[in-house]
Symmetry: C2
Subunit: 467 residues, 2 copies
């Protein structure tokens, strides 16, 4: 990792059995170990979505081409990435079908049918699905032609309610990133240039990876009335007047698995936050010779029962050595490893190793349960603290345009400045540095003299190279 | 329902907010109420799959056309139903991509990469996904161009292990149907003509709908070495000899939602088994005038807290009458309705109505929790018993070919007979009656003189018209 981050990433994804290349260019196979992380992500978010009143539904993945074309910015943004079904059932289709790149169009077509009164609002729908965006340069989890995600789609009576919704979902994404994925994120507004095709405002959470590049980890959009007008969604308000609702959409994807890898990993491999780890604890029996076997396995069995509240794996393979197992589970990022051997049993103790830091200690067997609980909690917090420090220590503030360009070119990390929103200037920065305006952070509403336009005040903005 | 079953089905699916037609011919939108039933199905099955050692993974939905063509029977079976992506990212693709109709080909391509030693076996994978089969005549949930399902794919060292696996999964489907969906099913082997394209043996569960037609509710296949040979999957056995593994695949789909509707519904609408019902109990406050409101709502609130172990909905809408609510929740099949009004509170009682039978009784408020628990259990069992009787009372045994044809043509329901496996005869029955051989039930291995071939013994078989 410390030598060649990209190479490390590509290798660790495969070595740790997270994903594999598939025969179709740009797509991936998510292997059980990687999929299990995604399931843990889903479980947490799905619960939060339901607690906040959203309901899951499922919409067809094939969208008539004419639908995509109804919202002008939307079609412009997505056209280059579309996959098209032209033949089905042995015949050429009258109208080609687009494989959904996102579902605003088909969902809003249905909303027009389902919404008629203010009593039908807010309409709060979420969908877990696969989507296709034909990308030229792909990378496992981060950017693949097909990926898995959730997409929320809502309709509200007022602009204010829609804004509250978009921000509420952004908060849920932030909580997930920090408390579950242990990744510190910057919550902010996208510039006009970087916003979602069809949105009035796009919010995102931006994380810092271990190579100090940014990763957009989730987005939440206010769509205004763009889609409700394009798809003719109307409701009669309390005064019986027809109105177009205000809408939002928001999503996170399997890209989050990539985030977890790149935000926490090290030269040895993954470091998984306990909340997302498929196995939170691996128990490795140490059996010097056959006469110890029964005693050791009995203790291992007891321990595994004691820890049944946690996701525990007993690695009792005979064909590989304990050393091989240690390496494998280190590479796969299991937060805690417990060794159980004859000497440990004799001493009534267990050797517990943390993956997040270089720490290996003996603990009394009787304290196994409470100790594992507290250590997992510590690891969860420590990973977040490291991530927080990483972002803090690698963000540089600049006061001039030339410093912005110099810093982006010569120093890794985030660069903050006061920026006067301007598309041409933003494009220029991108050309000169390959960095982009990641967001205007929501927690800093200060304005100051901008770095890019003399005599204009700028908003606090963060630039970075990004995935 | 009693007058025109097909019309009833189409209407109730929409009236009960289960699904809606989408703008793309043959596809459907699964609405939140219908999707919630699917989620309950998923939760149960996913747990069972994991308990039996299977792991979830995700494979790309685009399959190179050449893959589909590798297994001869497989391509023949699926060719007429394929949807093809010919253009992506603004260009024509070099090789067209098939949208998966099922994933044997792409999964086995990966298995060839992942399996090398007997230590890699058994490989037990499941996938929850969408698939596409371009159908000419579609019906919501039962047959749509795109549907949601799970597909298990496994590889084993021996034929026997593969058979055990296929039968184990069939048992899980049977348990689901009977204990969770309250639908009695016949477990059996498919005829050569009806088996899955590429399987050596197909097993299925067959249910009887309320119009006495059969519905194939789940299938489990032994694939032999057909795919492992076609995709060159090999493993070195314990003697270091290269072998092709034996494989299985098995699946159930959103069609199960259709089964639940058609197996239990009546003229009033759905009857949902409590295990699958999105709302197991609906509480309807009865508020004759505003001065009762606070008292009633307080009691409703208490009751809803008392019943927090169940999926309870409080229908406190002001804009519709209690009668309107009763009809709506009857139509939507909620197992129990509880009315709470001032008189009930005065009498310290609750009026509980069952949806499965015409039963409405007062119970002491203090017994609400235990009573709701026992009533839900009773409903779950009663629906299964009704389904069992339905199948039993509507299965006719015949001893001659002419009786088989007559009975299939003139009487609704299943018809059993002893049948000598023969493709031409089976096709003849289909032509003469439109019925098909549903299965050779596993619980009857008797052989007797066959109805179709003089001097040949036949196996016990069940014919029926089917969805």
């Amino acid at each position: 990792m410390s030598e060649d981050f990209n190479q490390w990433y590509t290798e660790i994804v495969q070595l740790a059995d997270l994903a594999d290349y598939s025969p179709v260019k740009g797509t991936m196979v998510i292997k059980p170990y990687g999929y299990s992380i995604w399931e843990n992500i889903q479980t947490y978010l799905d619960k939060k979505f339901k607690e906040t009143g959203h309901k899951n539904a499922y919409f067809p993945m094939f969208i008539p081409k004419s639908f995509i074309e109804k919202e002008a910015e939307h079609v412009e943004g997505f056209s280059p990435e579309l996959a098209t079904v032209t033949h089905a059932g042995g015949k050429e289709l009258e109208e080609p079908l687009i494989v959904r790149p996102t579902s605003e169009t088909i969902i809003n077509h249905m909303f027009a049918k389902w919404i008629s009164s203010h009593r039908d609002l807010p309409m709060l729908i979420n969908q877990w699905s696969n989507v296709v965006r034909w990308e030229m340069r792909t990378r496992l989890f981060l950017r693949t032609s097909e990926f898995l995600w959730q997409e929320g789609h809502t309709a509200h009576a007022t602009k204010e309610e829609a804004k509250d919704e978009a921000l509420q979902m952004l908060d849920i994404y932030e909580e997930f990133a920090q408390n579950i994925a242990s990744v510190s994120v910057l919550k902010g507004t996208k510039s006009e240039m970087e916003k979602f095709a069809g949105a009035t405002t796009t919010y995102s959470i931006e994380a810092m990876m271990n190579d100090l590049k940014a990763l957009q980890a989730g987005t939440s959009h206010e769509l205004g009335q763009n889609f409700s007008k394009a798809f003719d969604i109307t409701f009669s308000d309390e005064n019986n007047k027809l109105q177009n609702p205000f809408q939002t959409s928001w999503g996170v994807s399997t890209r989050l698995v990539g985030m977890v890898i790149m935000a926490h990993g090290d030269d040895k491999g993954l470091k998984l936050p306990p909340e997302l780890a498929p196995h939170q604890v691996v128990i490795v029996p140490i059996i010097p010779n056959d006469k110890n076997k029964a005693t050791v396995m009995e203790e291992v069995d007891n321990l595994s029962k004691t820890l049944s509240n946690y996701r525990v794996l007993v690695d009792d393979r005979n064909e590989v050595s304990p050393g091989f197992k240690f390496n494998e589970w280190e590479q796969k990022g299991v937060p805690l490893r417990i060794e159980v051997g004859p000497k440990d049993i004799e001493n009534n103790s267990l050797l517990i190793s943390r993956r997040d830091v270089d720490d290996k200690q003996d603990y009394p067997i009787g304290e196994a349960k409470s100790k594992v609980g507290s250590l997992l909690k510590e690891i969860q917090e420590n990973l977040l603290n490291v991530s927080k420090s990483n972002m803090k220590n690698n963000t540089t503030h600049v006061d001039t345009y030339s410093d912005l360009i110099d810093t982006l070119n010569n120093k890794k990390g985030f660069v903050s400045c006061f920026w006067y929103e301007n598309r041409e200037d933003e494009l220029k920065v991108k050309e000169e540095t390959s960095a982009t305006l990641r967001c205007y952070p929501l927690d800093n509403s200060e304005t100051q003299k901008s770095v890019n336009t003399e005599k204009k005040q700028g908003k606090f903005a963060v630039f970075s190279k990004a995935y």
